[in-house]
Amino acid sequence: MNATSLTSILIWLPIAGALLIWLLPLSRYATGSLALLFSLAEVGFWIEQAARFDFSGSGLQMEERAKWFGDLGVSYHVGVYGFSLWLVGLTVVAMAAATGYGFWVGRERSRAYFGLMLLLTGATVGVFEAQDLLVFYAFFEAMLIPLYILIGVWGGARRMEATIKFVIYTMAGSLLMLAAIVAYGLKAGTFDLVDGPTSASRWLFLGFMLAFAIKAPLFPFHGWLPDAYRQAPPEVSAVLSGVIAKAGLYGMLRIAIAKFPDPTSFYRTTVLALAAAALVYGSLLAFRSADFRGVIAYSSLAQSGLIALGLFAGTDLGFDGAVLQMVAHGLISTSLFLIAGAVERRTTTGEFRLLGGMARGRPALATLLMVVGVISLAVPGSASFAGEFLILAGVFQRAWWWSAIGAGAIVLAAMYMLRLISAVLHEARGSTVPDEALDVRPGELGLVVPLVAGLLFLSAWPAGISHHSFFGQSPAATVKSQFK
């Protein structure tokens, strides 16, 4: 197998798996195993892709191109850059963990469920690999279809409002993006992201940016977030905040910043202000939140703001730090949501006033939550410390007060994370915590521990990502030169 076909395999293998699962009348157990097998194969193929990726090479790698429809200049064009490689890796790993979680808890209507999870995997990988605007859009929208059904069917009691809000919000953004894509592509004569020219149109920039700001989300476009994260099944919340939100941030980097350099500088202060608002506001809400998932949800909002701060700083350190932080936060919030799911399964609730004292007699749970929590609050030496430090240093070069705001928010992060840890693990035993509630089982450990191991690895060697995302010495120059 040659290296280029890995790109397409990563997209279409899970989609083929989804079709297979829908067609074969297998039992719940067999369906789950098959789905898990497919998602592990994805991880394997991604490792192969990463091994064959030439980090010293420039430009798009493992590129595949086929005509889709020629008269408007649309082609099926996929390939990876360094930063997209890491996001694909995050996707396949987080999706495998989420699929495994679904298998572990034994989701009802398993064929529909696992098929949709695989479909979501393929679509999300497609977003990170697409190099044609229409292909990008198609995958960006395609993520929504499985998410809608996953939340709507397997979600919590108030899932109906959550799904409608989620879909309407995201579609409002992405349909305006479609209009922007039409305008950009017809003017440029091609929809290709690699060949396409840069544009100076502020309207088009806003059309793209709105879609990404809703997906990420940035303040004040986060209205869908708390409901969706609370009502979705925990493993779907995990990929929503861990992976799907990154698609919005990735779009900012790959399209909004790269293709619209002039509008980016024009709106830089505005976007930085919204990002900083998301960071501070999200952190405050996370501190005030009364339940486990609420804290993670709002901290995801804060982290999206932080990453956008790094991206729109437009400096070398900012870009490096943003990519690192995307991966680190992806792993953190996936782990946290899966742990939240484990806690909710044992206590039927995520509300802090009903929880507490779970550390006693449950050392594995306590250790896991403690480790992830401590990494999440960016303790020095952790992967997210490296990411946040790079971002703050990067945005410092723009103006010092941005990093002052960011540093303040990191203090808030420590506050809400420690509050979460103590409310779940320590304090008096909560009324819904039964004595006989088990510690995390090996199956659950098997899902979360690899994610934590990845985080520890990144803590030890953050440069693994931050120095291997952009070609050349200066990421800012690479972004400016369209990643050439």
Partner: protein
């Protein structure tokens, strides 16, 4: 006295004759074939007719690279006609398969023994209406246009009322008759005005006369165009000429609704595009704006009215109004790209429209009552294949990239943008956003209702192999058109090259 008869290119009219001929045979089945085998005999005749129609239309498509008129300029033999005929005959074939199990409709308590009484007449009417439509898409002058319009409309009026012991069916037929006649009257009056001003009835002749006599913007011609737009607007059920649509779609037997919602739109939109770009090219700024406004109205009314409906057939009726709006965006651009966009859009649209009504027909048969969002609960889990097909169609209608509907929307937006109408793109985008609510509402009803409501329907539903086959075919077409964009666009481009763009 010698009577002058024009030379007739019989082969150019072959699809029409195939359908008319089989229509007569099907009618004979009604009297000559014993009741026990009447349904299967008439259906076989219809299948033969539509298959012959498809084969002949493909042959004509291949053989008519240089489009021209035949029968003294009364009919176009070109690829625009042929491609339209292929699509129409394809829908006709699917309708026949659906009708075998579903005509007359199931929403009634009539004696099952009488189900076969008038089934052969139904197939005869179906073939006759299809013959009218395949003639209509090739009409080359105002006379053949009006003639064929009445031809297929009269057949449709009767088909709507085919469930004659059901009040709603009779009501639908009568409503369609009265409103349709009004539209036909407007069309006829408009044609008369255009003829009066230009002295010509052929599309080319009108264009030539308008150009040579400086009749562009002439009052009679403009009023004539306005009335013709109104008359055709009734047929394509575009707002504000849509009032009949929800009632007729709801009342007519679902098989007939499926046929009307897909085939009538194909015929009306293709003919309208040809008529406007050929005969009234000089007045494009006028009809372009007119259709842009009609498109906006259709998008607004179709989508907002659908939001408050509970009856699924009414929701789909309003959805068809809004899709007329989308296709009119492409039409109003009046460009080669607009023509391609329209032709392409029609393919996945008609498959999805037909398929979704077929699914409704299955549920209707199961319950024996009109299908609403409430009694759709749990349907997705009970009938997995039909459920998946339905959510597929709904997401496809909404323009999510699950099928050709997405590319179709992209094309019509591109056509509008190329024409310089960014505002129309924005209107289309906002309309899509609104439409999501009711399309997702149907998916929600099928899959996401609380468990207590799921156990509504009882008994095991009939197997309905033919219905499943047609739904499967609709799925293949709507899904396949996402991947086979290039071949389909090539077909559409060759078809549109027959038009003077």
């Amino acid at each position: 006295m010698s009577l002058h008869t024009p030379h007739i290119d019989w082969f150019g009219l072959a699809p029409v004759f195939a359908l008319v001929g089989t229509s007569f045979v099907a009618l004979l089945c009604a009297v000559l074939v014993p009741r026990a085998v009447r349904r299967i005999a008439a259906a076989s005749v219809a299948i033969a007719g539509f298959t012959a129609g498809i084969v002949l239309a493909i042959w004509l498509y291949v053989d008519s690279a240089n489009g021209h008129t035949i029968v003294s300029g009364a009919f176009y033999r070109d690829r625009w006609t042929a491609l339209g005929q292929i699509i129409l005959c394809g829908i006709g074939l699917a309708t026949t398969l659906l009708a075998v199990e579903h005509v007359p409709g199931w929403g009634r308590n009539a004696d099952p023994a009488r189900r076969d009484d008038h089934v052969a007449e139904f197939f005869a009417l179906l073939l006759a209406s299809a013959a009218g439509m395949v003639f209509f898409v090739g009409a080359a002058n105002l006379m053949t246009l009006f003639l064929s319009l009445e031809w297929f409309s009269i057949a449709l009026y009767v088909m709507c009322a085919i469930d004659y012991d059901l009040e709603s069916s009779l009501e639908a037929g009568l409503k369609y008759l009265i409103v349709g006649s009004f539209g036909a009257g407007a069309l006829l009056f408009g044609s008369a005005l255009v003829y009066g001003a230009t002295g010509k009835i052929s599309f080319h002749g009108i264009a030539a006369a308008a150009a040579s006599q400086g009749l562009t913007g002439d009052t009679f011609v403009v009023v004539g165009i306005a009335l013709i737009v109104a008359g055709l607007g009734f047929k394509m059920s575009a707002a504000p000429f849509h009032m009949w649509t929800p009632d007729v779609y709801e009342g007519a037997p679902t098989t007939v609704t499926a046929w009307m919602s897909s085939a009538t739109k194909v015929a009306a939109l293709l003919l309208t595009f040809r008529l406007m770009t050929t005969a009234f090219a000089g007045d494009q700024h006028l009809w372009g704006w007119a259709f842009a406004i009609v498109a906006t109205a259709s998008l607004a009314i179709g989508n907002f009215a659908a939001l408050v409906q509970r009856n699924v057939k009414r929701i789909l009726a309003y959805s068809s109004i809004s899709h007329a709006g989308f296709m009119l965006i492409g039409l109003s651009a009046g460009s080669a790209l607009g023509g391609r966009a329209l032709m392409y859009y029609l393919i996945p649209y008609s498959a999805m429209a037909f398929g979704s009504f077929a699914v409704v027909a299955a549920r209707e048969r199961e319950l024996g009552v009109p299908v609403t969002l409430d009694n759709l609960a749990g349907f997705g889990w009970e009938r997995p294949f039909l459920g998946v097909a339905m959510w597929f169609f709904m997401f496809g209608f909404a323009g999510l990239p699950l099928g050709g509907g997405f590319v179709g929307k992209f094309y019509v937006f591109a056509a509008a943008y190329q024409h310089g109408w960014v505002w129309l793109v924005i209107v289309g985008v906002l309309a899509t956003l609104v439409s999501l609510y009711y399309y997702l509402g149907i998916v929600r009803a099928m899959y996401m209702r609380p468990a207590a409501e799921l156990a509504l329907a009882g008994g095991s539903p009939p197997r309905e192999r033919l219905l499943q086959l047609t739904v499967g075919a609709a799925l293949v077409v709507s899904f396949g058109s996402l991947f086979a964009v290039q071949p389909l666009i090539d077909l559409a481009r060759h078809a549109a090259s027959s038009l003077p763009l």
